[in-house]
Each structure stands twice: as C-alpha cells, then as structure tokens.
C-alpha cells in the first residue's frame, strides 16, 4: 500500500488528545487514532493513502481535502449507533470501535481489477450516458455500469440511527464559528438578543487551528482561547457545534443538521428548523486546487488541507513535499511542513514575481523556489512519487521527487446559503473569486465569505457585522484588495487534457469540457449536466469555479459572463433518516381503529391499513384467505353477513338552506328528496369529473346526512365547507363531519330482516313500511339508532348506526343473533366482491381522473334535474361528449380468470403492440354466477354490448364478453325483498 515510513504522526502538537487512544478498523484491519481526530486524519496517521477508486476510470485516489469539500474519501462507516453507507471521512469525528470500509475498488481500493477499464477510458467521455441511452443500446452497457459505479452499499439490516426534530427560533443566527463568526458572536454577548452560533465542526476556530496569525495584536491561540471561553459562558449565545446549516429559505427559516457525538459514535442526529430574525453569514471560503496533467494522484491535496492535517492533527501526510501555487497563501503550507520537520523540496509558483518577503522566508527555511513555472506531469504507479516542472515561458523540464504535493489555486467564498435565497454571486477578477454581490434582507456577511481576507480583517468584519445587527454605526477598515496577490491560473495551455482532472469525484477532465464546448454545451447549466461536472456528493466545491473558468476560456467569454450554476439546498448531504426522524410507523400516521376493533380481533380478523385498520378477511380453522372470502360471500348471499362500515364518511349538513346547498353538489335532484328517504348520487369536480359517490339521507327539511366513501370523508367535508365559505357564504347552512361519532354495522343477506327483528326495534321494519332507500330513527336493541336501508351487495341490507361507544355492544349482539342463522362477519375483500357481482362501481377503482357521470350512463338522471350543480356546465363541453370516451361496462368470461389492469386490445388486433381501447378496472370470480365478472372502462362501451373483446393480461390474451354491469339479480328482486 505504501512505501512510506511507519510513522505518520508528529511526536507532539495538534489538537488531538494523546492520552485517549481510539481504536477502530479499516477494511478489517485494526488501527488506532486519538480523540480529536477525524476519520480522515486517523487513516492518514495510520499510513492509509489510497482510499478510493475513481468513479469512471477507477484511478486510485487519496485524501484531497480536510472537510466537507473533500471530493474523494467517501467511506462506509458503522459506529455503535448506526451505519452510514457513504460519508466523507473528513467530516466524521473518530469514535471508539468504529468499523470503516472503503466503498469503491474490488478487491481493495489499492488494488482494483476495475482499473483494467482504464485503457477503455476514452470511450467514457462527456455525454457518454446521454449518447448511450440513444445508441447503440443502453441495455448492453447497463449491467457493467451499474456494477462499477456508485458510492456506498446499502445495508439491508442497518441499524437506524436515532434522530429527532427540533423547531426553534432566535433573534440572530451566526453561521460559521471561524474567526469572523466568533468575533461576531463575541460582540453580541449581553446584547439582549438570543443568538445561535452554528458551526459544522466539533471545535470552534475554523482555520485558526492551522493558520499563523495575529489578531487584535494577540496570537491566534490566545485569541481563540479567550473568545471560546467567553462565548461558552454567555447566557444569550447558544453554541451548536457539529451542526451544518443545510438550507436557507424564505422568511429566514433555516434547516440545520446537528450531530450529537459520544465517544463511540453519533448518538443522535437532530434536524432543526430554525426561524431567525437576522443572519450573519460567516461561512468562510474553501481553497481551490490547480489543474494540470496527473493532478489526481494520492499524495496530492489542497495546501490548506495539508496545513490542517499537520497542525490540527499532527499528521505527517508525506515525507517530501512540493507546493504548487498561484498566490501567497500557498506558502503557508510550505512553512508549516518545513517547521514540522517535513522535507519541502520546492515551491512552484505560477507567478513571475512573487513578493520578495516570501522569497526571503523560503531561503531562511532552506526551501527552493521556481517562479513563473508550472507542473506538466506527475509520476507514480499508485501514490505520487515525483513531478515534472517547467518554466511557463518554455525551456527544459525538470523532475522533482516528492510523495506529497500541496495545491493552492485561490479560494472560493462559501456563498451557498445566500444563493439559496436567490443571491447571484458575482465574479471579482481582483481576487479571482465569485463573491456575494448583495445580501438577502436582514442578512450581513462577515469574514472570508465576503472576499478573501486576513484573519485580523476577518475578526474586524465580524465585529462590524455584529454592530450592524445591533443597529450601530461602526467604521471598518476596508479589506485590502487581493491580500494574497493571486494571479488567476486555470489550466496549462498544453499537455494531455484527458489527464487534467477538474472534478475528481466524477472524473471530469479538461478534455470533457473541451468536448462539451465543441458540441455546443457552453452554458454552465448544460456543461454541468453534460459532463456531470460538480454533480457529485461534494457538489463541486473544489471543481465548479475551475470548470466554468476553463469553459470561459474555451468559449472566448469572460468568467462573469459565464456565471455560476444555481445553488440549491441542501448545502451538504443530509441523511433521509435525519429528516424523517421519528416520523415512522404509528408516529408517521396515527392508526385509526374501528370502534369494535377488539371484537374483530378476537374473531380472527386480518387487518389491512386503508387509513383505518379494517378487517380484510377473518381466519377460520387454518383455512387460507381465498377459502375464507368465499365462505363470507356465501353467508351474505344465503343467510346474513355482518360488515363493519364505520369508516364510511358521514357529514351532517344542517340549516334552512341545507337542501338547496346540497342540490348544488349532486348530479341527482335533492330538492325532491323527502324526509326519511335516501338517494344515491355522484359529486363532481368543476370540470365534470367524478369526485365521489355516496348516499344523501334527508332526516328532515333542515337536516341531511351526506354519506361519502371512506377515503374521501375528510375531502368531501372540506369541499362542502370551502364552497360555502368562498362561493355561497350567504346560504344558511352548517357542515359537520361526524364520521367517527358513529359505529356503523351493515347487515346484508336474505335473513337481514330477521336479524333486525331480533333486536326488537321500535319502528316497523316490514318491507312496505321500511322500503329500500329509506331511513328510520329509533331504539334498536335498546340503543338509539339511525338505520338506513341501502345496499352495496345487492342483497336486502340495513346499515345500523349507533353512537361509537356502543359499537362493540351492537356488533356483539348482531353476532349472537346471526350465528344460529348461518351468518358471520364479512371482511373488506368479500364485501368488494359482492358489490362487483352486483355491478356497483367503486369510485377511484372503476373511475379515473377523466370519468364523468355521462360515461356511467347517468345522462338521463342529469337531464331530469332542473337545477345547476358543480361540474354540470362542463358536461356539455366538447371533450365530455366526444364519441371515443371510455365508458363503464360489465365484462364476463367463463374460461380464464379476469384480473384488474388487463388492457383491452383494439378492434381486430390479437397481439400487442397495438392500440388499447380500455382496461379492466375490477374483476373477480363470481361464485353466485359461476363465471368471472368484472367492470371495464371501454371506448364507446355503451354501444358494444355483446361484443367479444381480447384482453391482454401479463402475456396472456383472454377473450371476454362486454355486458351491462350487474349480472347478479338483474331485476333487483333480492334487493327489494
């Protein structure tokens, strides 16, 4: 794996706690780090330098960054509390017992057979996927591509990491706990404002952990210590460490993800929604690499990352390093490495004339310098072993041996959160960076996020931001323009563009950008999608600006003109489990139980969650579902069946205008509905499409009960209420949803009247006194009841409604009475098959988003109604009366089973592919009829009775006959009995 010495940790220094070793494993190998390490620093300290294989070309890759910007080191991590299939090693604090695996590379990241794909790399250029989807055939490539791409493996038995949600608010949110953010928060101590300071790292200080600086005339360490202590002590500053602000939304609402760490892992993820008065954005900046051939080898990293690994974690990332820079900041890495005792071979500076003070400082450290130079090659089989350097003006190339290379290509302000709110970053050529042009309302910036600045300036700008929040005027010294004397250098003018990596996560090279430019994908949004530049989990933090600058050069535009792609939330990957938090199972949606749930349970009900927990069927002596369903159907057809219909929607509509109000909703005439009578009807959307069906009961002239389908109970009540409030507010009517106030048991079958009689009702229940589609109130079984004689099954049927609290008592009595008659409980499946034998429709199953009452053959009913109703005018529009509409018909066949979903083939066609003229909406075998019955939506179906159609069902062709719905008891003799 490595030719490097066994010691990768400096003998002293760093923010690690050497008194507390932390044991973990990587690919099964036991390793040790220290408390305070990140997983990345601990792996480096254990000599791991190849951590991944690249996405497309399977090239070996190492640690490139030291934080959220790292494009490469995505690992599978299991700690004591959960499993992350792919998480950036640099953002994971090391924890005891952590088991870590590389995600890419087989059998190992350091030796990967997939690397054999490299000779074919020229076939996987930009736009490969788009082109392959078109030609020759995506399916040839899919299996290979699916196997060799992707980050992370799903763990089917992964422990679910505990997560919770928090909703909170504060006066001021300071985002970022580096120099500027700390200075701002410190200035807000005792200001009377409630302040949240959110920082994504476990420790405050940001880049101060690895930067030499004097702030306010004190050393960085002293300043950091003092400010940290004051912030920790302040009552009005709430410090949220290890907390990433992931999104900024209108109304100054922010989402944040907080990791709560224990010694052995992330004990809790907390997903915040924080509503904020004012915002100080102090997110700082991230360094960019330089682009040159072979810039992706392990051992090459950002200069800031190298400094950070050495100073914050006391890691020796390489034994002999070079630095490649286009600005002064890169020199820090050289000095840091040199002072840590690491051999620094050379600083290669693209600028012809770097500041003299830097030259002198290098001389003092004994480090050589090449100015006006660039790297034209890198060497090494796996890890970097050397670079070849040449003057930009030409001349001889020179090879330098090194196993580490630090890249400093300038910095990019982390403006993402402001951009979430619609702020467009603007290019500032002086600092070669996109800076925020303006701030959203009630926002201000502090520190590097505004423009690159020194730590001293950042601290001052933090204090100034706090003053602004407090409404005080304060003069701030303007930041020195271009404090690091950057000279833009985007790419070498010559060399193998296919080896110049811009996006290291997605393997996008300069050659890909050139191809995109040639093929006309020159807009940044097209460039991104065509090449996948910046589309990885790192969201192109280190690659976007380089990529669009290179595109600007290729298309002869300046960078300002090219602009950036749109930044959208989240700022970094957020685990779905953290968003869902505890909203799972019953906490996702509360279970609704029938009033008589326990009785159903005791009777062997197999429940199905359809919004309510409803019995689908009842277990009987170990028989399966099908046998049980047939037995339940037989009971209802030959004796009596008891069905719990409590979830059916019940909405009371009361008031002097109740009748006229309801008449506006139903296709049937409600004006003529007499007290004690019930009418079946349909409710439509404004465009004439069926919304719901149900029965309307007239109790008296000012009180009606709307019965609607269970699934629409809430929607219908809201619909009535909305029209009342917004269209007919002067109508005197009140709408009261009362569904769960009542238990409703349907008693269906030839013995239904005998069952009702056994309850000693105080009303006459003879067929003449209590006919079909009528309603009675009375004492039944000693309970105050509302009884409707309606039928969903085609049998004589009563629905007995009692107050919900008496539901179990009613059901128990009914079971006692029905059992000796051969009756039993009937579940939802048998109930739906009974109605299908009868040919009654089930809205939502037998109708779709186009079906109107005309398609059901209800034109006659509508013609007879004098008044208007919602949707009526739409039924005379051209689309509603066209000849090719799908109409509801019955179908039957004797041989093969019919199933819902089968497509009806057009005319003479016998095999697909061909046009379809409709589909089977419901189907089952009818034990009463002895053949298969179903309903179908069929083009011009009402004119096609008796026709034989072919139905395509999962490969089989079934012949069936079109008929009128309702083959069972067509004369309604049983219904009216």
């Amino acid at each position: 794996m490595s030719r490097r010495p066994a010691h990768h940790r400096l003998p002293e220094g760093g923010c690690i706690d050497r008194s507390r070793p932390v044991r973990f494993s990587f690919n099964g190998r036991q390793m040790t780090g220290y408390a305070g390490d990140t997983l990345a620093s601990a792996l480096l300290a254990n000599g791991v330098d190849v951590i991944a294989r690249s996405f497309k070309y399977r090239r070996p890759r190492g640690f490139f960054g030291s934080g959220l910007e790292d494009p490469l080191a995505m690992l599978a991590v299991r700690d004591a509390y959960g499993y992350d299939a792919a998480i950036r090693a640099a953002q994971v604090p090391l924890a005891d017992g952590m088991a870590v695996h590389a995600n890419t590379g087989w059998p190992l990241s350091s030796f990967d057979v997939g690397g054999l794909i490299r000779p074919f790399a020229r076939f996987i250029k930009a736009g490969f996927y788009y082109k392959t989807f078109m030609w020759p055939n995506w399916r040839w490539f899919e299996p290979l591509i699916r196997r060799t791409t992707g980050f992370g493996r799903i763990d089917a038995i992964a422990a679910v990491r505990p997560a919770e949600r928090v909703h909170a608010s504060c006066d001021v949110l300071v985002i970022g706990g580096g120099t500027a953010g700390m200075a701002a928060a410190h200035a807000l101590i005792n200001s009377g404002h409630e302040v949240v300071l959110a920082d994504d790292r476990p420790r405050l200080g940001g880049a101060l952990a690895w930067t030499d600086a004097d702030i306010d005339g004190r050393t960085a360490d002293a300043w950091l210590h003092d400010r940290s202590a004051a912030i920790a002590d302040a009552d009005n500053i709430h410090l949220l460490s290890s907390t990433v602000v992931t999104g900024a939304y209108e109304g100054n609402v922010f989402t944040m993800l907080q990791y709560v760490h224990a010694n052995d892992g992330v004990v809790l993820q907390r997903h915040w929604k924080l509503r904020v008065g004012k915002v100080i954005l102090a997110t700082g900046s991230v360094e960019r690499p330089l682009v040159f051939p072979g810039n992706d080898r392990p051992g090459i990293m950002l200069a800031s990352a190298m400094s950070r690994y050495i100073r914050e974690f006391a890691v020796i990332p390489a034994t002999r390093v070079c630095v490649f820079t286009n600005n002064d900041a890169g020199y820090d890495a050289a000095f840091t490495a040199s002072r840590a005792g690491i051999d620094v071979a050379c600083v290669i500076d693209t600028r012809d004339v770097p500041p003299v003070r830097l030259q002198s400082a290098l001389e003092a450290e004994g480090i050589s310098q090449m100015t006006g130079s660039e790297i034209i090659h890198t060497h090494g089989s796996t890890r970097l072993s050397g670079i070849t350097v040449r003057a930009r003006s030409g001349g001889a190339a020179r090879r330098i041996d090194c196993d580490g290379l630090a890249l400093a290509g300038g910095v990019s302000p982390l403006v993402h959160l402001a951009a979430h709110r619609g702020i467009k970053p603007v290019y500032d050529p002086d600092v070669a960076a996109f800076v925020p042009g303006a701030w959203p309302e009630n926002w201000t910036g502090a520190g590097d996020v505004q423009t690159p600045m020194t730590p001293d300036q950042a601290a001052a700008s933090g204090v100034a931001a706090a003053s602004q929040v407090l409404g005080k005027k304060q003069d701030v010294a303007d930041a020195v323009p271009n404090p690091f004397n950057i000279e833009a250098y985007w790419r070498p003018p010559t060399g193998d563009a296919g080896m110049m990596f811009v996006d290291l996560q997605n393997d996008v090279t300069v050659a890909d950008i050139e191809l995109a430019a040639r093929e006309g994908y020159v807009s940044v949004e097209h460039l991104k999608r065509y090449t996948t530049l910046g589309m990885g989990t790192d969201q192109g933090r280190t690659s976007n600006i380089n990529g669009l600058a290179i595109m600007a050069g290729l298309s002869g535009r300046d960078i300002t003109e090219v602009g950036t792609t749109t930044f959208r939330p989240p700022y970094t990957a957020v685990p779905m489990g953290a968003v869902a938090a505890n909203r799972t199972g019953p906490l996702y949606r509360a279970a609704r139980y029938l009033p008589a749930h326990d009785i159903h349970d005791a009777a062997g009900a197999v429940f199905e969650d359809v919004g309510w927990l409803r019995p689908d069927w009842y277990r009987q002596n170990g028989k399966g579902r099908e046998a049980a369903v047939l037995k339940e159907m037989a009971a209802a057809r030959h004796a009596v069946g008891l069905f719990d219909g409590s979830p059916l929607g019940k909405i009371e509509v009361a008031g002097p205008d109740a009748r006229a109000f309801l008449d506006l909703f139903y296709v049937s005439n409600i004006m003529t509905l007499k007290p004690g009578r019930i009418r079946y009807s349909l409710m439509l959307h404004v465009d004439g499409v069926i919304f719901d069906d149900g029965v309307v009961t007239c109790i008296d002239d000012t009180l009606f009960v709307v019965g609607c389908s269970s699934g629409n109970a809430d929607a219908v009540a809201a619909w009535l209420e909305r029209w009342h409030q917004t269209e007919w507010p002067s109508m005197q009517v009140a709408v009261a949803p009362v569904t769960s106030n009542w238990a409703s048991i349907a008693v269906a079958g030839p013995r239904a009247r005998d069952v009702l009689a056994a309850l000693n009702p105080d009303v006459d229940i003879s067929s003449t006194a209590f006919p079909h589609m009528s309603f009675r109130e009375g004492a039944i079984g000693g309970m105050m009841s509302r009884v409707s004689r309606v039928s969903f099954t085609g049998e004589l049927q009563y629905e007995i409604n009692v107050p919900a609290a008496q539901g179990d008592a009613l059901l128990e009595r009914l079971m006692e009475i029905a059992a000796p008659m051969g009756g039993c409980l009937v579940g939802l499946e048998a109930w739906l098959r009974l109605r299908l034998e009868k040919g009654y429709l089930h809205v939502g199953a037998d109708t779709n988003g186009r079906t109107t009452p005309l398609d059901l053959g209800m034109g006659g009913i509508i013609d007879k109604k004098p008044g208007d109703f919602i949707g009526r005018r739409s039924l005379s529009l051209a689309y509603a009366v066209s000849a090719d509409r799908e109409q509801l018909v019955g179908i039957k066949c004797t041989a093969a089973p019919l199933r819902a979903g089968g497509r009806i083939l057009a005319g003479d066609d016998t095999r697909p592919p061909c046009r379809s003229e409709g589909y089977v909406t419901s189907a089952c075998f009818s034990p009463s009829l002895g053949f298969h019955v179903g309903l179908a939506l069929l083009e011009n179906g009402s004119e096609r009775m008796g026709e034989t159609v072919r139905i395509y069902d999962d490969g089989d062709i079934i012949k069936a006959e079109v008929c009128r719905p309702g083959a069972y008891d067509p004369d309604n003799e049983r219904l009216m009995a």
């Binding site: 939304y249 209108e250 109304g251 609402v253 929604k273 509503r275 619609g422 404004v686 465009d687 209420e721 909305r722 409030q725 917004t726 269209e727 507010p729 208007d868 009526r872 005018r873 739409s874 529009l877 051209a878």
Partner: protein, 97 residues
C-alpha cells in the same frame, strides 16, 4: 418557508399548517348554463401565473379552518397583503375609488 398570519384567528401559520387554494377572485360565471364554452373554460383553466405579485387563496387548515386571501410575490415569497375572504385587495379598492 411561507408564514402567514391568519386574518381570522390571528395566529402565525407556517406552510405545513396551511392549504393552498390557487388564484383568488376567479369569478364563477352565473348562471353557468348561460356561459359560453370559452367563458366557462377560462373559468376552469385560465390563470394569470405571474412572475411577481400573485393574488391567491389560502386556508388556515390546521387552525380555524377559514379561507382567506393573500398577495404573495411568486419569486421572493414576500407576503404583502393578507385579507379576509370577503374583503378586496388594495389595488381593487384603488380601482373602485
């Protein structure tokens, strides 16, 4: 996140507690039977869909259940006017005056 103070119950409600109801003041032709096909399909389908201030209906669904009207900027989500359902927006009052 959209936060609106309900003009009936006077509580701040955020978007998870509210129901959106589309553009406000779309007049239903009456009587519908006398509306032309064009007038009726305009009522059904035609909306202004502006980039800018949009006059729309919201319901205090998780609160008092009342429908009300809001002027909202479709780009910034700035809420500039919240009125009871029977009231008229300021621009309409100006026009009336």
């Amino acid at each position: 996140m959209i936060i609106i103070r309900c003009p009936y119950c006077h509580e701040d409600r955020h978007e998870e507690e509210l129901e959106y109801g589309g553009e406000a003041d779309i007049a239903r032709p009456t009587p519908p039977a006398q509306a032309t096909d064009d007038a009726w399909t305009d009522y059904l389908y035609m909306r202004t869909n502006p980039r800018g201030v949009h006059f729309e209906q919201w319901c205090c669904r998780a609160g008092c259940g009342q429908w009300f009207k809001v002027a909202r900027h479709t780009v910034t989500h700035d809420i500039t006017e919240v009125i009871r359902y029977e009231d008229r927006f300021a621009y309409q009052k100006d026009r009336d005056a």
